[in-house]
């Protein structure tokens, strides 16, 4: 009979074990988040990522090998974005009534996200080429990567900053909006989707379906607005 190390080295080379472990880590993270009463800090993405990063580190597995398995999950991001049409469709009437507040929240959230990030980073002495990767941090990853590249920033760094922004947004949104006394699910969802894209939208969906629908529209609209806005704002800051 083959020993454990032999079986492991055989399995670890294929996609099955990494796909399974990705789902296991998420199931564990989601259960922990539920036990914690969906507390913002018990973010399931953050917990699952930490569990898997520790596993990869402990087993000496390169990310490329891990991604062979995890790519099947990653691929679903595209279809899930299309599926965001479902909450939009269900909230259609409510959305139509709120079109002006939606556009106001989008414009203000989008401009504040880009301008404040660049202003703070520049004041702290961050290099210009890093600013180019930072500018689109509030948009969904494929858009941010495209924008960063067209501005001369690193696409990898842009992806890192996008994910950090999403996780931070998902963590701060609930306590922040409670503190500000914003109780309207539409306002809460939209602002979170605009500032923290898909990860913020995932958090909003977890909290309330109406917040999720407005987060989805915020994310989609901000992808378009930031693509138009970021190059102009960056020029001011360089």
């Amino acid at each position: 009979m083959a020993d454990f190390a032999e079986i492991w080295s055989y399995l670890a080379r294929g996609p099955l074990v990494w796909l399974t472990l990705t789902l296991v880590a998420y199931v564990v993270a989601d259960a922990l988040s539920q036990v914690a009463g969906r507390a913002p800090l018990a973010n399931p993405v953050l917990i699952a990522v930490i569990l898997l990063a520790l596993t990869l580190w402990g087993t000496g597995t390169p990310y490329a090998v891990y991604f062979e398995g995890a790519q099947f999950v990653h691929f679903l991001l595209g279809p899930a974005t299309v599926a965001l049409a479902v909450p939009l469709y269900q909230e259609g009437a409510r959305l139509k009534r709120a079109i002006l507040p939606v556009l106001a929240g989008l414009a203000v959230g989008s401009v504040v996200a880009v301008v404040s990030a660049l202003w703070i980073a520049r004041a702290l002495g961050v290099a210009p080429e890093t600013l180019a990767a930072l500018a689109p941090k509030s948009t969904t990853a494929p858009v941010a990567i495209g924008i960063a590249q067209s501005l001369g920033g690193s696409p990898t760094l842009a992806a890192v900053l996008v994910l950090l922004t999403g996780i931070i947004g998902a963590i701060v949104a609930t306590p922040l909006l409670n503190a500000l006394g914003v109780r309207d699910w539409r306002a809460r969802g939209l602002a979170t989707g605009v500032a923290a894209h898909g990860i913020g939208t995932a958090r909003a969906l977890q909290v309330h379906p109406q917040a999720g629908a407005f987060a989805g529209i915020g994310m989609g609209l901000n992808a378009i607005l930031t693509a138009l806005l970021a190059p102009a704002v960056l020029r001011v800051f360089l």
Partner: protein
């Protein structure tokens, strides 16, 4: 379910093709979302098939960010000496953007009579 998944993928595919063909800065799946919205609004049969499947996918949207998130851990050193400053910029600007966006929504909703709707603690 297979019909719904097929429609979802067709919308994504159409979105990708249009985005690429016209050189749009918007990602294909976001255009696909728009196409799906048109289909849902246009046909009750499509809505009946797609709504439950779409809800099923979105229930665990968080899961789909996990592989990319694990990739980020390996690139945290990319942040380099500027890591702390970038983190400060991201945290502060995300707080400001969420707060300002939500307050702008609330203000305009009040002005235009789009009103206040139920929120947390309102039941």
């Amino acid at each position: 379910m297979i019909q719904a998944l097929t429609l979802i993928l067709l919308c994504q595919l159409a979105g990708e093709a249009v985005a690429r063909a016209l050189g749009l800065p918007v990602p294909g799946p976001v255009l696909g979302m728009g196409a799906m919205l048109v289909l849902l609004a246009g046909s009750d049969r499509v809505a009946a098939a797609v709504v439950p499947v779409g809800q099923g996918i979105l229930r665990h949207l968080s899961l789909l960010f996990v592989p990319a998130g694990v990739g980020v851990v390996g690139h945290l050193d990319r942040l380099g000496a500027e890591a702390l400053w970038l983190l400060v910029a991201i945290v502060v600007s995300t707080v400001l953007a969420i707060g300002a966006g939500a307050l702008a929504f609330k203000l305009v909703a009040g002005l235009t009579g789009a009103g206040q709707e139920a929120g947390p603690r309102d039941g």
